[in-house]
């Protein structure tokens, strides 16, 4: 078990997949992180050297991920609402924001779009 940013990862897991479990780290960011610290894409958590773990941790802590990123997205939506934009209104009404039709199939928008958007 290796701690990365307060999360405990089993040693048999892939480093790439483990990084992608963080909100805000996708395929592109994980690839970049691996390249930066010379970790090959099929590397398992258990194969990481101690220094690499620390390096990855330091790099992750500099990135805007997890709750910081969630807060930023929510702030953006809030700003749209407060400035009275159409997009802000649509968020608040729980309707599609980007010009989709609303005659049918707005389930996703109804489910997700609200002031406190679920992320």
């Amino acid at each position: 078990m290796v701690f990365i940013l307060g999360v405990n990862f089993p040693e048999r897991n892939l480093v790439k997949k483990s990084l992608e479990t963080f909100f805000g780290v996708g395929k592109i960011h994980s690839t970049r992180l691996l390249a930066r610290f010379h970790v090959h894409p099929t590397c398992k958590i258990g194969e990481l050297a101690n220094k690499q773990v620390l390096d990855i941790q330091a790099a992750l802590s500099e990135m805007k991920i997890e709750n910081d990123l969630r807060r930023q997205v929510l702030d953006n939506i809030k700003r749209l609402k407060e400035t009275g934009t159409y997009r802000g209104r649509r968020h608040a009404l729980g309707l599609p924001v980007r010009g989709q039709r609303t005659r049918t199939q707005t389930k996703t928008a109804v489910k997700l779009n609200r002031m406190e958007r679920r992320l």
């Binding site: 690839t31 970049r32 691996l34 390249a35 010379h38 090959h40 894409p41 099929t42």
Partner: protein
């Protein structure tokens, strides 16, 4: 007083049990004698299609029961995939089969016959991964290879290099090429078996692909050289192969000081122990490999190390499937750009042996470099094709300025590094041979006869081996392509009786 009787329960009681009621006359019971219409009528009423319901049959997916078995242990599946069976007790033993030895390997009378590999050598050959899983070793009683013209050629070279004649200490460099199933990998295996017979040091890279597919660890060499990369695990595996296969390393002692290893190497350390330092700690495996390489190329001992210095044996270096090394690897550099395979030090080391430079020798104590292409597992690299044509042209004496010298297509993307890798410059050391291209093709008819007779003696082929029959099969096998001959040899066993 509250009665123990619950009214709620009473109201929910069924009106009357069904069995108590008098039997009603249903349609089915009436129609006891003429069944079909009544049954159909009843059925129709029960499952009449509802409003806007499709009438087509819908199949319910059966849910699979959850698998209870545990998956195989880590590495078990790969071990099964890579399993090599070298003997088949059901095949007949051939009584007068000869083995590879100092005498038989250069005996041209044995051309076309199958020479067995000596049993003690099999462990060494396994250690350097000379056998491949898809080759048909498992159909015969014991592994053996057919002696063809190219085998004898290479045997004479190996014999000459390890002998005392003027060929002693020569370096032969060959690229083995050829169509699919023409026996390139087995050609390397034959060379290895001869080298083991002569007690050479054999260093092999059996699978060049795994160095560039980004499945093994990599790291920049140092802070001063951030653009070249070492592969510690792969190097440790190479050292481990080399140590297991070459018991001669335990007799040789170090001849100079080595820096870069964790501890200083005292005089009297064997080369085996030196290599084991790298196996034990992959972090220094590249340094250990370089130290081992320097030791194997040493001609004399440094002061203070003279005691117990023995002349080093010649070396055989083989690489299979070099095309994988001629393109960008799957590794990324810091800027997320692919790293060229030639920037991996492991690859660079073996490719640099092809052109050691002015006055240098790639193997100072002599030996042979055999680099094979692969036709079944090979990326398409047009520049490599041109580079190999250039090697052949230089070998034929065509000058690079001549009009018939092959050049890459002007309108295609050319990888200059690939062209340069095969383009030797400067005057090499006197014993250094030029790079040659050896193209393997089919066997001759005589060799094909010997090979098919081997199948017949092993009980696989029950056929009267006439010249006509052999000629037919020789043609069917694309002019004696040995892999196709093997398929014919094993397929026909059911055909006859």
């Amino acid at each position: 007083m509250v009665s123990s009787f619950c009214w709620g329960c009473l109201t929910r009681l069924p009106s009357a049990p069904r069995a108590l009621l008098p039997p009603t006359l249903t349609a089915q019971r009436v129609a006891a004698f003429h069944t079909s219409t009544a049954l159909l009528a009843a059925k129709k009423g029960a499952s009449a299609p509802k409003y806007r319901q499709g009438t087509s049959m819908t199949m319910k997916k059966k849910k699979r029961p959850a698998e209870r078995t545990r998956p195989p242990a880590v590495g078990e599946r790969k071990a099964l995939r890579k399993r090599i069976v070298l003997s088949n007790p059901n095949a007949l033993e051939i009584p007068d089969m000869k083995e590879v030895s100092n005498e038989t390997m250069v005996d041209s009378r044995l051309r076309g016959s199958v020479l067995g590999l000596p049993v003690p050598m099999l462990d060494q050959l396994r250690a350097v991964q000379a056998f491949q899983p898809k080759q048909g070793w498992s159909i015969f009683r014991r592994p053996g290879t057919v002696v063809r013209r190219e085998t004898l050629e290479i045997a004479r070279l190996i014999d000459g290099i390890s002998g005392e004649g003027e060929e002693k200490g020569k370096v032969v460099k060959k690229i083995v090429s050829g169509a699919r199933a023409t026996g390139k990998t087995v050609h390397l295996l034959q060379a290895m078996s001869m080298a083991f017979t002569k007690e050479w040091v054999v260093i092999t890279v059996p699978d060049s692909q795994e160095l560039v597919t980004a499945t093994t660890a990599y790291a920049p060499l140092s802070d001063e050289n951030p653009n070249v990369y070492v592969q510690p695990e792969a190097t440790a595996a190479l050292l481990s192969r080399t140590v297991t296969a070459n018991p001669v390393l335990s007799k040789l002692k170090v001849s100079r000081e080595h820096t870069g290893l964790k501890a200083p190497v005292p005089a009297g350390t064997t080369l085996e122990d030196l290599a084991k330092m790298g196996i034990k700690d992959p972090a220094v495996s590249w340094n250990a490999f370089q130290a081992l390489w320097a030791e194997l190329g040493a001609k004399s001992a440094a002061p203070g190390f003279e005691k117990g210095f023995q002349p080093r044996p010649p070396m055989l270096v083989t690489v299979d499937g070099i095309a994988h090394w001629m393109k960008e690897s799957k590794y990324n550099n810091v800027d997320v750009q692919p790293i060229h395979a030639h920037d991996l030090l492991f690859v660079r080391h073996f490719l640099s042996l092809l052109k050691p430079g002015t006055g240098q020798s790639s193997l100072p104590n002599g030996g042979m470099l055999l680099y094979a292409t692969s036709a079944s597992n090979s990326p398409t690299i047009p520049t490599l094709d041109v580079a190999l044509k250039q090697v052949a042209a230089r070998q034929a004496g065509v000058r690079p300025s001549a009009p018939e010298f092959p050049h890459p297509d002007l309108y295609a993307k050319t990888d200059q590094r690939v062209l340069d890798a095969f383009d030797s410059y400067g005057l090499p050391a006197p014993k250094e041979g030029t790079l040659e291209l050896q193209t393997l093709a089919g066997l001759t008819r005589e060799e094909a006869r010997g090979y098919l007779e081997y199948f017949a003696h092993s009980g696989l082929l029950r056929e009267n081996l006439t010249d006509e029959w052999i000629g037919e099969k020789w043609s069917l096998a694309g002019g004696g392509v040995i892999g196709e001959l093997e398929r014919i040899g094993r397929r026909l066993r059911v055909n006859t009786a």
